[in-house]
């Protein structure tokens, strides 16, 4: 494989800024002495310019009215109200979990009792709306998985 072939393999990554400083230096050294590869890089750059010059497509005009109608049908309280309720409910959930866990471990073994998992009925927390709500909480604080517990409790209280 010629040096030009090796450079060409990396040229698109170079054009989008995806190479390390060291790799970039090697390519730049080659480009100074190779008009063909330099010309290829110019073409890749012009392609990027073209992409930046096209206009996004607008959604159908009637969609705004549709969205507005939908959101007006979904009134919601201010953010602070829900947040305070979340923490209150999260504390209550933790306390409940401790009590339930204590009960499970302290209770004598009963073979005929239903499995622990069946004590919790399936909730609707895998509905798309609940998933998006959790996503919002996770986006703001990516490591706060406890957000899921709080959100579920809000939904249960709201429902």
């Amino acid at each position: 494989m010629s040096s030009c072939d090796r450079i060409r393999e990396q040229l698109s990554l170079y054009a989008v800024g995806g190479l390390s400083r060291r790799a970039r230096s090697g390519i730049e050294r080659h480009l100074r002495s190779c008009p063909a590869c330099a010309s290829e890089l110019t073409a890749l750059a012009r392609t990027g310019d073209l992409l930046g010059a096209i206009a996004p497509r607008s959604a159908p005009a009637a969609l705004l009215e549709s969205v507005r109608r939908e959101i007006l049908a979904r009134p919601r309280p201010p953010a602070g109200t829900r947040l305070r309720r979340t923490w209150r409910l999260a504390l209550a959930t933790t306390a409940l979990a401790v009590l339930v866990a204590g009960g499970i471990f302290l209770r004598p073994h009963q073979p005929s009792a239903p499995p622990v998992a069946t004590a919790f009925e399936p909730t609707d927390d895998d509905t798309p709306a609940a998933m998006e709500a959790h996503l919002a909480a996770q986006w703001s604080t990516p490591l706060a998985d406890e957000a899921a517990v709080g959100l579920r409790m809000i939904d249960e209280e709201g429902g």
């Binding site: 073209l50 930046g52 959604a59 979904r74 947040l83």
Partner: protein, 194 residues
């Protein structure tokens, strides 16, 4: 027009507090990007419009929990990407986009407020570029729209799609290479003003 001016934090804050007018403004500033992204992923025009609507309705419902107002656009794309993924999984949406359909979408109109650069290229060239984009893979189309049309950074795109930044960079590079070949006739035309 930069992204910050399109999704100012105060609008996000007001919408989060329940201000429908502020949310209307956010819709107007983000709809073209979101619709373009979804339209780049699903073939059916009506489905793309429906998913765009669902994206904004879900955003409205979940907005009170988004603490970082500056992350609104990326978060909105994540909602859109999740909706597209669910549609594809369910079999209702097809990822294949026919070039001619994407370039000549009868439901869609070019963004109403083109910037100076957008106005600099002809409608014919715009169609040619859209047609070339339509021939990319769905993954490549998604990152091209987000990066080049919406000016999202590689890190923002990675977060929105739930992939590594290196993956985004690699998709962008492969897309650039493929588009360079498909648009070579236009690139060599010295009359094309960029």
């Amino acid at each position: 027009m930069n992204r910050e001016s399109r999704t100012p934090s105060d609008l996000v804050a007001r919408a989060r507090a329940g201000d429908v007018v502020a949310f209307d403004a956010l819709y107007l500033s983000c709809q073209a990007g979101i619709y373009s992204f979804i339209r780049s992923q699903v073939r059916e025009e009506e489905l793309a419009a429906d998913l765009t609507q669902q994206t904004f309705v879900r955003a409205w419902e979940s907005l009170p929990r988004l603490k970082e107002a500056g992350a609104f656009l990326g978060w909105l794309h994540r909602i859109a990407a999740n909706l597209v993924r669910d549609e594809v999984k369910s079999g209702r949406a097809r990822l294949e986009v026919i070039a001619s359909e994407m370039a000549d979408d009868p439901l869609a109109t070019p963004s109403t407020q083109p910037g100076p650069e957008e106005a600099a290229i002809s409608a014919g060239l715009q169609e040619a570029v859209w047609a070339a984009i339509a021939e990319l893979s769905a993954d490549q189309r998604g990152v091209v729209v987000m990066h080049h049309l919406e000016d999202m950074s590689v890190a923002e795109i990675a977060r929105a799609l739930g992939v590594r930044p290196g993956t985004v960079m690699s998709r962008l590079a492969r897309a650039r290479e493929a588009l360079r070949k498909r648009l070579s006739g236009y690139l060599e035309d010295s009359d094309v003003k960029l």
